[in-house]
Every structure is written in structure tokens, then in C-alpha cells.
Amino acid sequence: MSGPSLMDSLFQRSLEDIIKGLRQQLIGEQAFISKALEEIRKEIKSTDLSTKSTALLKLSYLSNLHFHDMSFAAFHALEVLSSPRFSHKKIAYHAISLSFHDSTPVLLLITNHLRKDLNSTNEFEVSLSLQCLSRIANVDLARDLTPEVFALLSSNKLYLRKRAVAVVLRVFEKYPDSVRVCFKRLVENLENSDPQILSAVVGVFSELACKDPRSYLPLAPEFYKILVDSKNNWISIKVLKIFSKLAPLEPRLAKRVVEPICDLLRNTAAKSLLFECIRTVVTSLSEYESAVRLAVGKVREFLVDEDPNLKYLGLQALRIVAEKHLWAVSENKEVVIKSLSDADPNIKIESLRLVMAMVSEHNVSEISRVLVNYALKSDPVFCNEILGSILSTCSRNLYEIIVDFDWYVSLLGEMSRIPHCQMGEEIENQLIDIGLRVKDVRPELVRVARDLLIDPALLGNSFLHSVLSAAAWASGEYVEFSRNPLELMEALLQPRTSLLPSSIRAVYIQSAFKVLVFCLHTCFVQGGSIVPSASLNNLPAGVSASVSYESFDEISVENGADVTVVHGQTCASAPITKESIVNLLNLVELALGPLLGSHDVEVQERVRNLLGFVDLTKPEVLNSAVQEKDDSEGKGVETSKVIKLMHDAFSKELGPVSLSAQGKVSLPDGLVLKENLGDLEMVCGDLEPPSSNTFSFGSSYEEKDGLSFSNPQIKEDSEQTNESTSLLAEHRKRHGLYYLPSGKSELVSNDYPPANDPTLQGDIDDNADNLVKITAESLVPKRKPNHGKPRPVVVKLDEVDEKHVAMKKPESRDDSLSGAVRDVLFGCEDVPPTLSQSNLSNKLSSKRKGKEKQHTDPHVESKENVIDDGNSSLRRKDRSHGKERRHRSPRKKNVEERKETNQKEKEKSRRHHARHKSRQRAEEPLKVSAQTPVIPDFLL
């Protein structure tokens, strides 16, 4: 054994050998590394610690810079760690903090090593151990080593104390109960005169305050003192960060800090501190006009600076200001616009966002014009960035800022012709969406669509295919507004359509079908050749749109009594003669005949439909074309009927469909869904929240159709907002808060109760009202989206839900952490100090629920319990989130009450808390020496 060990240590390659060797390998790097790894695997098993540690060092190198797995060495690293030599320890700690993670199996074995080193007399060993702990701490390690970290928090070696302060943040995060032990010492360090310690503590608090600012409001006086006294810029920046979180919660605090911050703003020469001041003012003190003015002045200095960093940050600060003080952007308009052509893409994007922030309904067309010109000139990436932001700004809140839709639709057409444009899908969606929602724009839409369709060059650009699909659809759906349907037909059937993907080709064919039916209908059913009636087109909106110009009343009434809108205006400029119809039919047969054998089912099926229709009508058409004057009574009527039937089928108007429309489909009688699929609840729990939202706004789809559109501006919109506003008012009256509209939701919710609400199943009918209340209640946190508007609103809702899912994990941790902090600071008596983590959070939530009982009505409470008992975890998360928000107000009240009590009472209660604490502590294994009542009072 001694032989190979000696050989190993004498001839072992050092790290430097490896590095040198690697640098000399030009091609065989991988081979070299695997050979080295092989050696390492052998060496690391050596009993000689020097050999072992060198092997470990080499391995760390390969793992760190060449990303080779080193998990196999976990146990060896621990062995090296036990070496008495500092150099070995260092290598081992390095390797461990590099490679260990929560699921490393030997993590359990490290606790004692760490503890030993944390108690070491060599401060560097302690420091290494702290460093390692900060990296690999998990719940167990954090719990087991809390006493050691606690002791180090008041170590008289400043070097160790500040490191312990930094590590304590990790320990808190992993094991919130440690807050009860360590928090007081941490707060004591806030009064330390050493700037290094102070900075470490303030840093910890600024990180903590990011997660849950409210808990640290009681410490505001200490922070205020630091803010005013500190001469150290690093500390000032951190304190500013804390205040930017605290100030929005407590107006009096904001009032107090605004002056010192303005002083800093005026006097500091350090750019980073200056920037932090600006950011604090614009994010958290935006209601103090003078402070904002001052900050914006400084931002302007940033904007005109040579340094691109300052320029970028200046633009970013402006973007934050813009939310509340748009004037700040307008004042700096020139710089912003100039930055659009900056060399730096990041600056360009920032300025683009600012430009978009300035958009309003008055200037949208000018700004879009300017931006489209920029887009024409810029590189593809930025071009699409511009187009994307125009599209998203204009479509915001259902085209809120667009007044002139004709202009917007032609802009969409123009944008799709920009060479670099890759936003085809978005343009497609908007074209269709506008077509559905805005009745007045349809003639213009058809015109734009026609321009796009007849240009054969566009068919070659694959990014435009989706736009073309929208154009084809619009021209088919609204063909009655077309000036020349025959031309449209030719465009739809042109040979180059073979370049389209088959799904879009199918749309083309279907549109051709609609156009053909329209032509036949105008020609035969409406009687002979059509006189151009384009003048109708220009009638004022609102008058003409709902008036249906029908020359064939009787049949229309017979066939579809509920169809109110049939081909509004006919404005064909080219007369449709029977001859042209014959040509049209021939064209269809010629163009689509070859597609009968298409491999794509969609295409094939549509072609068959269309050709079948042609077969059906063609003989008749030919017949009538020959004997034009002869009014054929027998057969002619039959064909007319067929045409009429098809026309009616197509003329039924399509409306926008909410994403959650399916949720509104009523449950058929006798279909027992819930009982058999009860088990699915667990799995499908996540899907529940969106659907529970949907039934709060009513009107099933058929109903919508049945309504006549008296106000054609944005039909679905106005209809639903009218409805929703009246309902909203009603509910406000009833509940004092503003809830979601629910008149129709009663009706719908009967059919579609929330799936995971078994108690309500039986007595739905009696409780419909309650249910509405509950759903409204459950929606309170998400009340922002307006349910009156179908599509975009639902998208917004989905986003909210996603966010909840994403936040799920941190939240649970924060909850317990901030809960613990709050307990320490506010001295909550009802939570015993030695609770496991899960216990603690349960306690907290139950406490919260208790509070809730006072503020919400019992129905809600029972419902919440039901849901909490259920397995739907997302739902619960959602709810707890909501709860928390709702609770802000009562808690705040609490806080204010507290503040209003006079000094004496505070003194008394403080002493009481301290006494109480000491009683609690008695149960703990730890002897806590610091019992001084450091819970500070509120500022002011």
C-alpha cells in the first residue's frame, strides 16, 4: 500500500500540469480530459490526504471550467474536509460549494464538520465554513447550525461577524424559525458603528424587505437614522432600497424621508447613488411633485451624457416615471426620439418603449407613421420590435386608443408589406378580430384584404402567409362589401396559391366558395345584373349598418327569421352578368379540379364541397344564360333555393368568441360528470380558476347573435359593457365593494358550478345568489380585468393565473419567513416558538383565517374551508394569495392603531412582550442571552 501511495504522491500531476497540458492540446482536448479524469478517479481513492486533495483540486477545475460531473467525489471531498490542514480544508470547501446541492446524499454527514469549523479558533476556517454554509444550506443544516451562526452574530471578530450576518439571510430563508433566535441580534447590529457590519446588516434587510416589506415597518426609525447619518454610499444605496419598499406602505414615512432623499439627490456626486435616489423617487415617492421634478432634472442629465450606461439608465428611469407623470417623457421627447437611432440595440428598445408610452388616441397615427418609417430603415430585429410594439399598443384593451379603424386596418396592411416583417400571426389575429368586432370597418378591411390578395409577389413570402389567410377569410366573409367580387375570385384562385401551406389554402378555397355563392346570389336571386350601389357605402355609421338592404325579403324571413344582418350593402362596381358567372364557374373548375386528389384532407374536402356546388348549379346557369329572357318558373326556383340556402348559411354573422366560451356551454340533463370523474379533481384542479371566472359574465353565444346591433361601433363591446356597468352598479350598492357583473352569471352558474365545490352541488338552486357572491368574492384579488370584454380579457386572466403558479414556491417560503419575522417584531403571543416549519405555516394560515372571519361573510368562509380541505393545491395557493392581499387593510389598521397608542402603553406592552418571550425561550435548548427589548417603536 505504501509503494503506490508514494509513487502517486511523487509523480502525481499537479493542477498546473493539467492546465498546461490542456493548453497544448489543440484537438485532442476531450481525450486529454478523460485521461486526466481517469487518473483523478484513481488518485482520489488514495489514503494520502495530499494526493487526495490535489486530485480533488484538479477535479474542481475540470468541473468548473469544463463542466464535468464531479458528484462521484462527494464523499472524498468530505474525507479531505476532515484533514487538520488548512490547505486541504480550503480545497475541500471549494469542491463542496461547487458541487453539492440539496439532493447530494452525503449532505447529512457534513453537519458535524461544519459545526466543528464554525467553532474553530482559526478565523479563516470559520469563514470557509460560513461560506460553504451560505451555498449549500438546506433546511436541516440551517436548523442544526442556527446556534453556531447565532453565536457568531455577536463575535468580537468583525471579520466573522459580518460574514455571519450575510449568511444569516440564507439560514432565515431555509429555516424561518431561526428568525426567533437570531433576529434580535441582527437588529442590534443595525446600531453598530462599524460601517462594514452596518452595510452587511442593511444588505440583509434590503433583501428581506424585497420579499415582504410590511414586516419591517417597525424598524423604520433605525433605517431613517442610517439614511440621515450615513456617509457611506454603499450603505445609502441599500437603505434607499429598503425605503423604496417601505414608503408606499406608509404615507407618513414617505413624507418623512422625501426631504433627506432630495438632499442626497442634490448633493451626491456618485452616479450610482444618484441613480438609486432617482429610482426611489420615481417608484415610491411619485406623488411628491417637487421631488419628481428634481429627479427628472437629474434624469435629463443622464440622457444627454456621453456614457451609454447613463443614457440607458436614464431612459429606464423615464419609463418608470411615465406611468404616473407622462409630462416627464414629453419634456424629453427629442432625446427619446433621437435614441431610436442609437447604435446600441438596448438603448433603441428602451426608447421605443418610451415612445409607445407617449401614445394616446390623439397622436397614435402620427407616432405610428414615424415608427413605421423607422421600421423600414432598421435591421430586421429592431424592425420587428417596432412592429410588435405598435401592434400591442394599438390592440391594448380592445383597441382602446384607436378611433379611426379604417386607418388602422390600412396600417396593418402596410405593416405586413414591410420587407422584414415577421409579425404575420399577430397581424392575422388583429385583422380577423377587428373584422369581427368592428362592423364599420369591414368595407375598408375588404379593400385592404383585396390589395393583399391580388399581389402575387406576397405569396412567396412565408412570413406573410398568415396575413394572407386573414385577408382571404375577410374577403370571403365580408364579400358583400367588395367592389368587384369577380376580381376577388380570381385572386383567390390564382395559380401561385400553390405556394401556400395547405391549411391556408383551405381558407382560400372556403373563401372562394363564399364569394361564388355571393355572386350567384346577387345574379340569380336578387334578380339579374346588379346596378352598382356604391353610394350606400358612404352612409354615416350607425344608420346604414343595421339597415339591411334586402331585395328579397320574403325568402329571408322564411328561412332565417333570426338573421338580422344579411349582406348590408351591395356595392359591386363591375356588374355581375350571367356570362361572367359562367366564366367564374369554369375558372373554379379549372383551378380546383387538380386539387380533388390533394393529400391534405382539409383542402380536398373543401374543394369537393365547392365543386359539388358548381356541379349542382352549373347546368341551370348555362340554361338560364342561353334563354336569358325566359323566366323559368320550375327548375329555376329550385336552384335559386339552393343558392339562397347556401347564402343564408354563410351570411350568418360570426362574433368574437371568448377563450372560456366552452365553460358556458350548459350541462345536458342526465349527464353526470362530477360523480364519476371526481378523482380527476386533483389533476384538473389547476384548470378550475379560469372557468370559475367565466361564468361571472353572462350571455351565451346564441343570445349575442340574437341581439340587434343598434350601436355598431364595437358591437360586442358596447353590448356587454352596458350590461356590465348596470350590474356593477347594482352590486356596488349591495356589497359596498366593487364586484364583478353577475346578473346572468346566476343563470349560467347554475349550469356550471365550480367543480371542486361539492357542498354547493345539492342546493345550487337555492343558493345561486350566494354562489354569485362567493365567486365575486373569490375574484376580488383579480378584479382588475374587466369581464365585459370577451377575448383579451380572458387572456389577461390566464396570465394572472400563470403568475400565481409561478410564484407558488417562493410564496410558501416567504409566508413562513415573513410570518416568523412578524412574530418577532410584533410579538404575537399565540405562536409557540418551537414549531416545525409546516406547523408554523398552518398556524399562520389559521390565524389569518381567524382574522378573516371578522371581515368577510360566513358563506365565503365556509367555501374557503371547503377548498382548503380539497386537494386542489393551486386553488389554495391562489386563495392564500388573495387572502394576503385582502388582509393588507385590516393589518394596516392594526398597525395604525398601534401607533396611535401613547408612548407609555407601548413601553408597557414592550416589557410584556419581553417577559413573554423569555418564558417561551425557557423551553428552548438555546440559552439566549440578549433579552433586551429591542423591538423598536414606529417612526413618528
Partner: protein, 197 residues
Amino acid sequence: MRHNPEEAQRHQKSESGIPAFEAPENPDFPFRLLSRMIHFVLLISRQGKVRLTKWYSPYSQKERTKVIRELGGVILSRGPKLCNFVDWRGFKVVYKRYASLYFCMCIDQDDNELEVLEIIHHFVEILDRYFGSVCELDLIFNFHKAYYILDELLLAGELQESSKKTVARLIAAQDSLVETAKEQASSISNIIAQATK
């Protein structure tokens, strides 16, 4: 140490091209201690080679390579006179080029970018002081030392030590601890003792 003449030449060039070391330190911005949430630190050479990585947030080995590939692509392709900040996956990466090396640190959206630039500069100055006009080769061959220096400077992603002098002193003290241990280990008597064990 610079056994490869070609390499040495190349690096001599870059050595002379470190202007930032002479950059005047902002007088009223003393480097004191400060804490910060830095998610990771990367040193990437101009050729895209990784010279040092330090992860303060948990990333798996796979994610690490992905991050480096992505960021390397983004940062190396940026021109010289652009701003030093890159938006990346909802985070912000602050980078600065010193000679042939890019120093990158990843922070949260609402952290102070200028402050991080100062930290990077601070780190570079400490390296410079320790190695004596540092160049990329120094970092390549003293990979672990650069690491230890970074560890003195940052802990748990937060700046620990803002005085250059103190860091130098701390590192020197630890180096001497290591050296004595090494001497012991490599002394002849030790080897004989081991051999005859």
C-alpha cells in the same frame, strides 16, 4: 510560467491594453462593504473560453453550460461603445471588458447596475494588486486563487469586503497558512515517513 512564447506575446499585448486599471477611482465613492444579491459571476475570454464561474443561486451543471453559451453569445457580439447592461431572461447582466476578459455578473431587475460595475472594477483592482498587473494567463494558471479572492470579496452573492488592502491582507494570511502546510508535506522527512509507514 509563460512557457508558450506565442501565448506570452499575445498576453503582453493585452496586458498593455488594460486601461481601466488606471481609471480614476471616484473619490466620493469609497469601496466599503456592501451586500448584494448577485446570482452568478462569469469570466469569459474574448474567444468565448470560460475562465471562472461562480454560482450563488443553484444551477445544475446542464443549466450552467446553457447560461454560458447564451450569455457568451450575447455579450461577445456586442460592440465596444455600447452600454454595459444586457437584459437576459428577466435578469440583468452587467458586464465589462478588461483587456481580453469579460467580467459578467447577473443581478435582479431592480438592482443598481452602476453599483455592480463598481464591484466588478473593485474585483479587477484586487486581482491586479495580488498578481501584479494581472493578465488572463494569471487567472488561467491560478484558477483556484482567483476563486479564493472572489470568495473573500463576495459571500452569498453579496459584497463582503470593500477595502482592497484588507482583502490583500486576508489572502496573504491564508496563503501563508497554505504554504507552511505545503512545505511540511513536501519535506523529505515527510516523504520518508510516509514511505516507511
